[in-house]
């Protein structure tokens, strides 16, 4: 009985608007990361680049193949962003990113793995159901998606925040020794030991706060506010590096999924108005 009730929750249909907004932001992040990955690949695959094959079965990659791989990545990312053949482009994008990650350990980065997981889940979740080229070609019908994959996306983000918080529970980080090493754009004069300790504790506590606050209606707006500041500061203070932009954009993109039905309804009407379509067709189910 409980199982069937749980399954009913996962099958429940919800508005596809937040998922569409998430897809657009993640598609943009994938485009940025794809461009940056081209230059990373060129460096790693050059004669001086240190190769680090992850597995015996790692897929082959070469300087000749690199532009093709990245070309497929960029085309798939663009199609995913605009929602053209969204499921196919999402699948191709996910496979391309997975290939890139498995090809060599020197190409691996946590934020690319995170991007891969989110692209995969957005593909499964039918994120092209609303505000996409596919949706436009279908005559802009009322767009609803199953709640199960959306819940998985939200849980995935909670898992990342939770384990990122756990990883920070170490003496070196909490004593402020680690953060200054990473804050390359932060003025040295301001980085006193007290500031380093306070910032380290704040980062750790905020990640734990975001694990649950995004789910609680009363705390959600504060969580989104602090999350946006946190991820903005990561980019500004650490370095304006494509990896950090990708990570911050991808994780912030999922914040749309936490909005309430009422907030989504307002959002949908505004987007529909902007696109010049009939907002009446998008009444909440």
């Amino acid at each position: 009985m409980r199982l069937s009730r749980a399954l009913a929750v996962l099958d429940r249909r919800i508005d596809g608007t937040p998922l569409a907004l998430c897809r657009v932001m993640v598609g943009t992040a994938a485009l940025v990361r794809g461009l940056a990955s081209y230059f990373v690949m060129m460096r790693v695959l050059s004669p001086g680049g240190v190769r680090a094959p992850g597995f015996d079965w790692s897929p082959p990659v070469s300087l000749v193949a690199a532009p093709w791989l990245i070309g497929i990545w960029l085309i798939a990312a663009f199609c995913f962003l605009v929602g053209f053949r969204t499921r196919l482009s999402g699948a191709v994008l996910a496979v391309t990113i997975a290939y890139y990650l498995l090809a060599d350990g020197s190409l691996y980065a946590s934020h690319i793995y995170f991007l891969l997981l989110i692209v995969f889940l957005l593909t499964v979740a039918d994120s092209g159901a609303a505000f996409s080229v596919d949706w436009y070609l279908r005559g802009m019908p009322r767009a609803e998606v199953a709640y199960g994959p959306v819940l998985l996306l939200k849980l995935q983000v909670a898992i990342v925040y939770f384990f990122a918080g756990i990883a920070k529970l170490n003496p070196a980080f909490l004593s402020g020794e680690v953060l200054p090493e990473n804050l390359s754009s932060f003025p040295d004069a301001w980085m006193t030991p007290e500031v380093a300790i306070a910032a380290s504790w704040a980062a750790m506590m905020l990640e734990f706060y975001l694990v649950f606050a995004l789910w609680i209606r009363r705390l959600r707006m504060s969580a989104i506010f602090f999350g946006l500041i946190f991820h903005g500061l990561i980019v500004v203070t650490m370095s304006f590096y494509a990896g950090l932009i990708t990570y911050s954009t991808t994780i912030v993109a999922t914040y749309w999924l936490y909005l309430s039905n009422e907030e989504v309804a307002v959002l949908r009407q505004r987007i529909a108005g902007f696109l010049g379509s009939d907002g009446e067709r998008y009444e909440t189910a």
């Binding site: 460096r43 240190v50 898992i159 384990f163």
Partner: protein
Amino acid sequence: MFFAIYLSIQVYLPARCVVDGTHCRVGWVMMAHQLDSPTFFVRRASGQEVPLAEIDPDRTLVHVERGSTEARFIVRHLCEQIPDTVAVRVIYARPQREEITPCD
């Protein structure tokens, strides 16, 4: 079914990293630990030992992408790329230790 399998994997992998206490790639560590940039010394057939920074000051022979590459791969690369190398000594800062790896 998909929901349960996906969630189990995504919880298990980072949890395993925490339990093992290792710096796993799928552990969502996110710059939570100090960077350990080891120092490399190339041992020549003559017995002379030269710091890598002296051999390759412009990093044209050895390019490591954002420090994400394990030292063992850099050692192998040095053996392959720098002629007359018989072994590589690596000094780690955290925790302090050193390793000497002969080139095959």
